[in-house]
């Protein structure tokens, strides 16, 4: 049951779109900074398989510039 947190950087001008895109994904919670172009993303997937699916979906988001992982927990 992996839990990760990330700093998510939107593409230029795509902050609102990224918030909406991330919020629409299962297992994702998103918190935008009020005064910087940066978001916090916390993911909580039930198993490794669903985690891999989510990772693929994240990689395909056009509004996302990059993700920087800040925390990770797996049940390994």
């Amino acid at each position: 049951m992996p839990v990760f947190s990330y700093l998510a950087y939107p593409k230029q001008g795509a902050r609102e779109q990224l918030i909406n895109d991330l919020a629409a994904l299962d297992y994702c919670e998103v918190a935008p900074a009020q005064n910087e172009e940066i978001l916090i993303l916390v993911t909580d997937t039930p198993d490794e398989k669903k985690e891999k699916v989510l990772q693929k979906k994240l990689r395909k988001l056009k509004s996302l510039e990059s993700l920087a992982m800040t925390f990770g927990h797996t049940d390994e």
Binding site: M1, V3, S5, L7, N35, I40, L41, T70, G72
Partner: protein
């Protein structure tokens, strides 16, 4: 509110992201973030210092059903004010690696087999007795670390120096901060910084001397960035031999050729004097000038001896000495443009700017480590920028208790908990507190760390007990010392938590309790002592390192000196130990105060911490109206005439590259703990060699391709990293040492500073071959 362990982990994940954002964007706000406050719900929070670097961050560990389940920064700890770095946030996972050593092991027929811990302790005591009988007391040794809790180091010193009567006590802090100690002692007469982390909030200028704080001391670095964010004039200058994350965040990055920091520091002083930026009032009243021996060697041969000879000189002699260090001359030696040297001098010389210099391994792991420490103090002393808020030459330390245990308890061959073995009064005090005959304490130091392992190789030492460190990864010129440890007639005892290359050479493995599995104390870089209680039970048959020493001491017949009960021994040891420092210059806080608070700085006088030493406004021990450098007999700080001298080994036609080694943010030292945390391991799964892109292109090396790094001592094959997080200049490579699969210390050189005896892991000559 009841919350699940899972919600709890999510909360820790969110807090980690907030902390990381705060480092990158000081002042960032996530006001809309829902608060997953896990402060209730059957989880109990307990304070502890972090057990990784020397910053001494306060942590709160969440415990549920006797298991550590979460971590957050302790908002009551002034060090980190609730922040953590990535290692801190994942720290509890080091407790739960699958291959944790939980039973005692004894080597039988070449294999380590499980035995009852009592049997292992009996064998350790028996072998010590036998070795002392056959080869003498100086044939047994203990080697610990700056990760020893204070009671561990104290028990080791008392057993070996006080009871057995050998000074064969050393710690890996010799490899980490010995030059800082000798720098302090030669310049001020007393060890440890005069300032504190509050300097970060007051300074206008920061200069990092060979110090990648963004990765090695990330929480302090974030405090620097926060200061710069809040005050626009604040500047950070990174003065280093390679470009790092610190350089990238700095306002200016200045690169120098390895070893030439000595020349640049002198050139800065030359400029300060030439421009008459000297604080004459301070210099006249509080500084004296001294010189020592030159051409002092490098210690690469066995039995190397060196004793410095001090000579007092005057300011005019110092000024004349500096004539060899004009910025233009030093530009040729160092590669640093004269205008940049003048710029740094102008920052130090500006009377309206408060300036803090930070350094750590770059200056300490240096064959002239004591000298470069002296030279940076010289700069601050010339302009009188010291011992006041924001004006601080600040030697950071690498390990959580290198200061608290190794430097304050004195777990080095020449040291006692107060003073040195060579001093009769110090021996008398130790004998009185330890209740041993004063004749037990040998007045002659034996072996510093490198020489101790040489003695093991030669057979002068036959028994060695290693606790809380991994020398079979960290010793320079490692092949010799690993072979030495495995020779016939050597007996190695290793107190460990996980299998390591040092465990692999053990005859006995004692399973150790780790961090919050036992009660203890650490002492951080700013003279702050921090207590932790035992928060969770010890797993299996693991045992606190202090108690292991007590058990062996009693088996050796020293019940009188080690009388304590298992319930109160940590408190009892604290109360005994602090008798050594019961004076206004070093008084420690009492046990109950330390238990209640998130760390207390010494000297602790009349219920108050001392933030800035030697300044009577803040330090009750300072007796003058102005500054009082009371560590020296003349009550002055000493400026030293220390020249530039080259490294022990420099690149040549056969070995044309400098090798520089160090750490990365995600891994702690040899990685024996952090590589067992899945996320940290995945972040940096293996070591690599950083190569300058031009050098890589010339050699036909591409990113990720295999490269053989060879020196005159050994070689290692590893992947190339080009334009990664660090970028060495042309002619240099950098290798992190955290990965036991790539033993870069088989390549490094065991040259050391003749004064501090600290090896130089930053400079030797290597060649590269594409594999």
């Amino acid at each position: 509110m009841n919350i699940s362990r899972r919600q709890f982990i999510k909360s820790a994940a969110a807090q980690s992201a907030v902390a990381a954002a705060a480092v990158l964007f000081p002042g960032v706000s996530f006001g809309a973030w829902k608060n997953l406050d896990p402060s209730s719900g059957g989880i109990e929070w307990k304070k502890t210092p972090c057990r990784f670097c020397g910053t001494g961050c306060g942590l709160l560990v969440g415990v549920s059903e006797n298991r550590a389940v979460a971590v957050k920064g302790d908002p009551n700890c002034s060090v980190n004010k609730g922040l953590c770095c990535v290692k801190g946030y994942h720290s509890i996972q080091i407790l739960y690696g699958k291959d944790r050593v939980t039973e005692a092991l004894v080597r039988k027929n070449g294999k380590l087999v499980e035995v009852p811990i009592e049997e292992a302790l009996d064998l350790v005591a028996e072998k010590m007795k036998e070795t002392i009988k056959d080869y003498g007391k100086d044939a047994v040794a203990i080697y610990g670390s700056g990760q020893w809790s204070i009671p561990d180091g104290y028990a080791a010193s008392k057993l070996f120096k006080g009871c057995i009567g050998t000074n064969n006590v050393e710690a890996n802090a010799r490899l980490c901060m010995a030059s800082a100690v000798t720098g302090f002692l030669t310049s001020f007469g007393l060890d440890e910084p005069m300032g504190c982390y509050d300097d970060i909030d007051h300074a206008d200028i920061f200069i990092t001397w060979g110090n990648n704080m963004a990765e090695m001391h990330p929480v302090l670095f974030s405090r620097m960035l926060a200061n710069r964010q809040s005050k626009r004039h604040v500047k950070i200058i990174d003065f280093a031999t390679r470009t790092t994350r610190t350089s990238q965040a700095a306002d200016k990055s200045i690169l120098f050729r390895p070893q030439t920091d000595l020349a640049v520091a002198n050139a800065i002083c030359h400029e300060i004097i030439r421009n008459d930026w000297v604080n004459w009032d301070f210099v006249t009243n509080h500084v004296s000038f001294h010189k020592g021996k030159t051409n002092i060697g490098y210690g690469t041969e066995d039995h190397f001896k060196f004793t410095d000879k001090e000579e007092t000189v005057d300011f005019e002699s110092y000024k004349e000495f500096l004539q060899d260090y004009t910025p233009e001359k030093v530009e040729k030696i160092s590669g640093v443009p004269a205008k940049d040297i003048k710029y740094m001098a102008s920052l130090y010389g500006d009377p309206d700017k408060k300036i803090t210099s930070f350094w750590c391994m770059g200056m300490n792991q240096h064959t002239r480590g004591t000298w470069i420490n002296n030279l940076v103090y010289n700069i601050h002393l010339l302009v009188g920028k010291i011992s006041t808020p924001g004006n601080s030459p600040f030697s950071l330390t690498g390990q959580p208790s290198a200061c608290g245990t190794v430097r304050e308890v004195g777990t080095l061959t020449h040291k006692l908990p107060h003073g040195v073995v060579m001093n009769e009064k110090d021996r008398e005090l130790a004998a009185k507190i330890w209740t041993v005959p004063v004749e037990n304490i040998d007045p002659k130091p034996t072996y510093h760390t490198v020489e101790m392992f040489r003695a093991l190789d030669r057979g002068d030492i036959r028994f060695m007990w290693v606790q809380v460190t991994n020398p079979m990864v960290t010793m320079p010129n490692l092949n010799r010392y690993r072979n030495g440890a495995q020779k016939d007639g050597r007996f190695m005892v290793v107190s460990e938590i996980y299998p390591t290359p040092t465990y692999d050479v053990a005859d006995v493995v004692l399973p150790s309790a780790l961090w919050v599995e036992r009660e203890g104390f650490f002492g951080n870089s700013e003279r702050r002592t921090q207590h932790n209680e035992q928060i969770i039970p010890t797993p299996g048959n693991t045992m606190c390192n202090t108690w292991q020493l007590i058990e062996v001491a009693r088996r050796l017949g020293y019940e009188k000196q080690f009388p304590w009960s298992r319930e109160t021994y940590i408190e009892d040891i604290w109360n005994e130990y602090t008798q050594f420092h019961d004076n206004p210059k070093h008084r420690m806080a009492p046990y109950n105060e330390l238990k209640a608070r998130s760390g207390i700085q010494w000297p602790f006088i009349d219920g108050l911490e001392t933030k800035w030493r030697y300044n009577p406004k803040y330090d009750p021990a300072a007796e003058s109206d102005s500054f009082d450098f009371y560590g020296k007999p003349d009550h002055r700080a000493w400026i030293w005439l220390r020249p530039y001298e080259p490294a022990a080994e420099s690149p040549d036609g056969e070995y044309p590259f400098w090798l520089n080694t160090g750490r990365v943010l995600e891994h702690w030292h040899t990685g024996s703990m952090t590589r067992r945390v899945p996320i940290l391991h995945k972040a940096v799964p293996e070591s690599y060699v950083e190569i300058n892109p031009d050098d890589a292109a010339n050699l036909g090396i591409t990113n990720g391709s295999k490269v053989k790094v060879s020196s005159r001592r050994g070689s290692v094959v590893m992947k190339a990293s080009i334009n990664g997080r660090g970028r060495p200049p042309k002619g240099m490579v950098f290798v992190p040492f955290f990965d036991e699969s790539y033993l870069i210390n088989e390549v490094t050189l065991d040259a050391f500073c003749p004064i501090s005896k600290q090896p130089d892991y930053k400079k030797c000559a290597v060649k590269l071959e594409r594999v």
